[in-house]
Subunit: 511 residues, 3 copies
């Protein structure tokens, strides 16, 4: 039998199945004081009595959380603006207890027909999903379900165009002396790459018996686990993982408001948001001065609790002034404040209408919101009126610190940055099209040849970098670091690559 091997454990029961309640009593002596915690339900007490030993890290972390210190009843006594829960009431049995293990992992069994299982006398489910969080946070869950992020699995994997790109990235290439034999990407590699952020499909595929510190126990087997991607498909068929941005088990608003959370997925060359932020004045103020900020305050008072925006401040948080006037309403549909999607596909374009973008298709039959010519595929994209509305919502955030002239100047630059980077993408597309037309590259799979890869990087890395640098005021990133400099360099290298391909072909044709 494989055991966990920890030295010094005093109340481990191995091999012998002991009822949970008895275990609880056995372990209770070892439990440190739980002062300052809200009252725990007896079920949660039972969970903790063993898990304090089995997984001490998460029990300790949870004890630092608001969930451990508040009860729904106490939360409901707060003014609406100060409240962190959007439900106006919760069931009687939840009201006066901390939100503990049992409250999230054993309630709502009706929503978890597939993944509920017996665990020491409790019916529990491992994967807490939006249907669980919905109990206390229905507004957030609703909004998030209409956020592209919750649909991130389908947006990527159910779009044929992007699915090819995923396969090209995660699959294998076997060299055969001159070219390659492609081996399709396996599920494990996808889960470890794109889907780590986009979300995997987690479902119960069977059961297994595992040795635990409490002896052997039976558990459901979960596919593609672990995962905390933003668009995770959960065993209960809901989409999304609230713990993507509110990581287990502290679920802290402080963490979600800090830029390091967003940086988990938005730091790479494709979406260099964090890198841009870190060279912006906003990012400098945040990094330099935030030891004096209150990231946990609800509502969040600009100028008092924080003096420069983080990602959350601009895109999600409720922001008020000292008198309680609301400058921006909280939203978990992050494009509420975004007219443009500066993430080019391949051109920057108005935000898509639907959160699920997998049905978008252009005239050429590609799953793109723009034509290769740069034209917008308007039927899938929000209208100019809607864009103006969202722009205004964002400008309200800016106006907490900036004059209208400042704001106008900023957005004039963003407009120009979109135009110029789209223009430079168009030139790259012209070069690639020329190669396709001349038979120097094969457009059937537009993602696998060096010239195609350079084309992709033109928009995915450099176009995006230029636009993010402008949008978030981190200009330095938009010059040399994957910015305008590289955008020009890559374009010119593409033209030379075309010459190289032409020369090679001519030499080959001569033979």
């Amino acid at each position: 039998m494989k055991i966990n091997g920890r030295a010094g454990k005093q109340c481990v029961s191995q091999r012998i199945r002991i009822p949970a309640m008895v275990l609880a009593l056995l372990c209770l002596a070892a439990a440190p004081s739980m002062a300052q915690l809200a009252p725990l339900s007896s079920d949660t007490e039972a969970c903790i009595s063993c898990h304090r030993m089995a997984t001490p890290g998460i029990v300790g972390e949870w004890e630092k959380s608001q969930h451990a210190k508040m009860t729904p009843a106490k939360s409901l006594q707060l003014s609406k603006m100060e409240r962190r829960m959007s439900a106006t009431d919760v069931a009687e049995n939840l009201r006066n207890y901390a939100v503990g293990c049992a409250e999230c992992h054993t309630m709502n069994t009706k929503f978890h027909p597939e993944d509920s299982f017996d665990h020491n006398g409790f019916t529990i489910h491992t994967v807490v999903s939006p249907s669980d969080c919905n109990t206390c946070h229905p507004t957030e869950t609703d909004e998030y379900s209409d956020n592209k992020m919750s649909q991130a699995y389908a947006c990527l994997m159910d779009n044929e165009t992007y699915a090819v790109m995923v396969d090209n990235t995660n699959g294998l290439d076997e060299f055969n002396g001159s070219g390659f034999h492609h081996i399709k990407a396996d599920e494990t590699s996808n889960a470890d790459s794109c889907l780590a952020c986009h979300g995997t499909i987690v479902k119960v595929t069977g059961t297994q018996t595992r040795d635990t510190v409490m002896g052997p126990m039976e558990f459901p087997t979960l596919s593609n686990w672990p995962n905390a991607g933003v668009g995770r498909i959960n065993p209960d068929n809901t989409k999304g993982s609230c713990s993507s941005c509110h990581p287990r088990h502290q679920f802290s608003i402080e963490m979600a408001r800090k830029p390091y959370t967003c940086a988990q997925c938005h730091k790479g060359p494709d979406v260099p948001a964090y890198k841009v932020y870190s060279v912006s004045v906003h990012g400098n103020i945040q990094k330099s001065m935030d030891k004096d900020w209150d990231y946990s305050a609800v509502p969040w008072v600009v100028g008092k609790d924080f003096t420069a925006p983080t990602c959350a401040a601009c895109h999600s948080s409720e922001i008020v002034d000292e008198s309680g006037n609301v400058i921006a309403k909280r939203t978990h549909r992050f494009n509420d404040r975004l007219p443009w999607r500066i993430f080019g596909l391949p051109y920057a374009h108005p935000q898509p209408i639907d959160a699920d973008t997998s049905n978008i298709i252009n005239k050429a039959g590609l799953g793109l919101p723009t034509e290769l010519s740069g034209e917008m595929v308007s039927e899938f994209l929000i209208s100019p009126a809607e864009m103006a509305k969202r722009q205004q919502t964002m400008e309200n955030v800016c106006s907490a610190c900036h004059t209208q002239q400042w704001i106008d100047g900023h957005f004039t630059r963003l407009q120009r940055s979109i135009e110029t980077s789209n223009f430079m993408t168009l030139q790259a597309t012209k070069i690639l099209s020329t190669a396709w037309e001349e038979g120097l590259a094969q457009g059937a799979n537009p993602f696998d040849e060096p010239l195609e890869i350079k084309w992709i990087e033109q928009w995915l890395f450099y176009g995006n970098s230029v636009r993010f640098a402008t949008a978030m005021g981190g200009a330095d990133y938009g010059v040399f670091a994957d910015g305008r400099w590289v955008q020009t360099r890559n374009l010119r290298e593409m033209a030379d690559y075309l010459k190289f391909l032409r020369a090679t072909k001519k030499a080959q044709d001569k033979k």
Copy 2:
């Protein structure tokens, strides 16, 4: 009428123009307590009474500042070493009030003939410039005017050689089937790219009426606004923006002493100072231990207030020991402690004599402080004696923690690093010159062809990275990350590129 759209505003007067004083009274009730602030002038009180609502973020931020808590009079009571202002006195009407909105935005109107305007009964100017800060901080303003950074606009844009490089980076390239048609960089793109750090030309170009939370108001139109570049050309014709490093409206010495401020412009591959610092022992100590430092102390005691240098400690700050002995005098002329300019153009060279380097020209007619052969253009550069003096000033800083042998070892390495990286730049130059001579590239514009771009990166990215890594003790950055490894790789790729160009030309000549 477009309004700002904030919900819940209680004292907004729309459409109807109400005199500022009346507005002030109307709004005063909403103002939170201003305890702990120094006495405010009645003008500043009037500003705040409305701006607490109009721009609550900056009012709140300002209230956290020393400017809000101190008066010049109180500052003058401190010992000279503890004082943050260098003026020995200020005008009667400033002496006993906090340094508030009115003190900076309404005084000195005589210096602002172009950009002063009437705003609710006050004559104000938007862009606070060194001529304003000079009132209390004349030494800093003087020193800064002799710092290359204050001249950063001219240094870049008035130097014909660099101006071409700027245009190549920010302009557009239209593909025409084989080559490119270049479209000149527009002012907006320049402001959003190079000039974001170097500074734009801000001047009044007209007036405009804007809707505000207080109703429609008339404002001057500012060109290239916003900008906080170090060499901004202000409407009053002064150069520089103190808020580049002391961001509005907290103007905190703490922020200027933290490396994140410098990182706003000094993190990219051209000047990777922050990246190098972050892998140095100094950077590690700073990041790991600075929660126990006092970044606000004046004077700044080494070993007590901080235990490893930040950018400011080595290049700008006044540093003393616990007994008050001055180890380094404060300077806002940052090359006071720098013998070499390790930022290669294209070779590392002694610091230029003048802060404005736009007149530098080499024998070949290029605006460079070195010849392409590596020779120095000595007439524009400081003498060996001056270099030795600056070296000694820097060594004094090192000696606060290091022995002379340690220091000598360090600078021996820097000397060698300058030699070797200059040598590797020279080899790249030889390859490019060969291409120019053989007609494989066109030197007329030395910045736009792939081989030329690789040459530029040889010194601008890799040579600089190697030297910064040595100079700031972040050796790891100088190996693989844009360092010696890439310096070698790029050079060898250039040689292969030359072969490719030769082969292509031969094939073309045959036709």
Copy 3:
């Protein structure tokens, strides 16, 4: 005479040699209060009396250290788990004093026959080595001597294969019109590059007289100084520098537990551990929440003192639960918890048996732990049984917060990531081998031609990045930023490069 040039020094004695004790008395008046410090030995008092003035930064820093606040005797009164020293007793003359200057720099002279010298009446040595730290920390010193890091000099420089790579990186290349004349890397450049992390050879090469704030003094000349590389060869012939991770003179466990310390050497594209960590959930929690952590607690309680692992938590620290059960024992042999060495050479492989890997050689005569075909050179590598044991030790750390299914899922991915990245390295090797066979590149030096450099980057940058991203849960880094995307791109570019070399050769052969 060159003097240090500090203004305001009051007790500097120049040119005139004054006995240390007299100097001490002279300087004592200037010494700030030393409350809260443990009793100082009279020797340390003498050191400090002058060095508070000569090097105030390090004296101040040391005063913040545990060494200054504790005595060995007080430490020995703590429970074994709370103790930071592993010696069960120390010499009488050390027991009741702070661990000060004299305790580390003047004791153990018998171990320092080469580098001891007379300094104001004391026999001291500059370079404190593991033989000194061993006095109080013998377990740590022992473990570390069996850690690859302590052998990092030999591992790199005494392995002929890697030595060529070092020389290629740090040496110079002189362009001769078509190819290059290579100039061997000099000692100074090596010390400033690879050996900054790996460690230099520091030995006494003579003596020199230097001017100090105390007047001229004689010191031994140290080669390759300064250096704090992990495998430094010290003048006393010991290997390693404890201050690599416990930087002078605070020697803080807090710093060693923070990831910024490891980042000094593990942030570049070859070992992007810190970059991966910074986009992992662990790294996010650490950066977002660690203001509430206690990094100095001994023992370190998971869930209480910290809520997500840092580098140290997984690889080195003693971790306990709140009841004092040990989850992981402290180790300074960092591969105790590592079955695989994911740092590919060129393929990921089981950890080497010996810390000194300089004797490893494969069938082809290369100093690599794998064949170019991907086969393991098993005789130098740990057995599957040993791998399983180390895996279990690491899993114990994971199990503090994660279930076994979570852990299994994680390690399944790591296994697959090793397989796929090794596969992609193999394909790159096939391309390079083809080039070697066809005479298009010269394998004699496998590190200096562009195609070879691309091959090296395939495993050193991209293979490593993919594996580190998986191993440390920072998936985003493993996609676009030097990850799978670039792994594929580089492979395909290598195939095109092969075509280019073939075409160039054919053209040349025709002539």
